[in-house]
Amino acid sequence: MVSLNAVLLVSFLLFSIGIIGVLIRRNALVILMCVELMLNAANLNFIAFARHSGSASGQAFALLVMGFAAAEVAVGLALVVALYRKRDTVQVDDINLLKG
């Protein structure tokens, strides 16, 4: 059996890379991809705990998270496209519509 610690380490590192990407990248598309990466790290945790507790609930929840991620990407990409139509850019630094 794959040790729980190894899975948790990989999942933690994936999540950290995702957070770093969200914080340092300025492209809205890449930020969305990093959010997906973080959801995947959470999924990895769900599956690892399901495997080690011997119950299938974790896997069922990971499947739900996957569907949720798909919905999130659909809305997020629609937002990016709408934003690009309005402002001609997807760099989040240039988007300051709420600044008075």
Partner: protein
């Protein structure tokens, strides 16, 4: 036998985990959005490999279908729409028939290699005989899939239904958000 499966699982997880971390780093670090998308695709496939190593076979396949088949394609379409102002990105999407022909040929060869017996061979009368450890692995996979479906449709039916409503709302919302201003 048990030991062999466990060793394979552990090594698979190590390889795919390291590859996923590397691909994720490339995704964050690369300058062009298209390279980020491709690295993202590779990372998702590696995470699917990790799922397989953790004996979540159904989820691994679902991950490949949902991410490689759906989400990455969506991302590629949006990159194509949005990032075309840059010259470098433009070159990536221009007609590259040589690579396209090569890719199609490789795909066709792989397909024929896998399905050659089914297409050209006669219908095999003898039943498929697997090596015992493979048969055991297949059995475990079947049991896992059954357990997941039972858990999903018996214990978590309400979250499942709520998720389907969320997907419907996301679908309508995406159409409303992305449609042009003039109606």
């Amino acid at each position: 036998m048990e030991h062999l499966l466990e060793t394979i699982g552990r090594n698979m997880f190590a390889i795919f985990g390291v590859l996923a971390l590397g691909a994720a780093t490339v995704m964050v670090a690369s300058r062009s959005a298209i390279h980020s998308v491709l690295a993202f695709l590779f990372a998702m496939l590696c995470v699917a490999g990790c799922f397989l190593a953790l004996e979540a076979e159904f989820l691994g396949m679902a991950q490949i279908l949902v991410y490689a088949g759906g989400i990455v394609v969506l991302f590629l379409f949006v990159v194509m729409l949005v990032e075309m102002s840059k010259k470098k990105e433009k070159e990536v999407f221009q007609l590259q028939s040589r690579y396209a022909v090569a890719a199609v040929l490789i795909g066709a060869a792989a397909f024929l290699g896998v399905f050659r017996k089914v297409i050209f061979g006669t219908a095999s009368p003898e039943a498929l005989v697997l090596r015992p450890e493979l048969a055991q692995g297949l059995n475990v996979a079947r049991q896992n899939a059954q357990a997941v479906s039972r858990s999903l449709f018996a214990d978590y039916l309400l979250p499942f239904e709520i998720l389907s409503v969320i997907l419907l709302v996301a679908l309508v919302g995406a159409v409303v958000l992305a449609k042009t201003e003039r109606v």
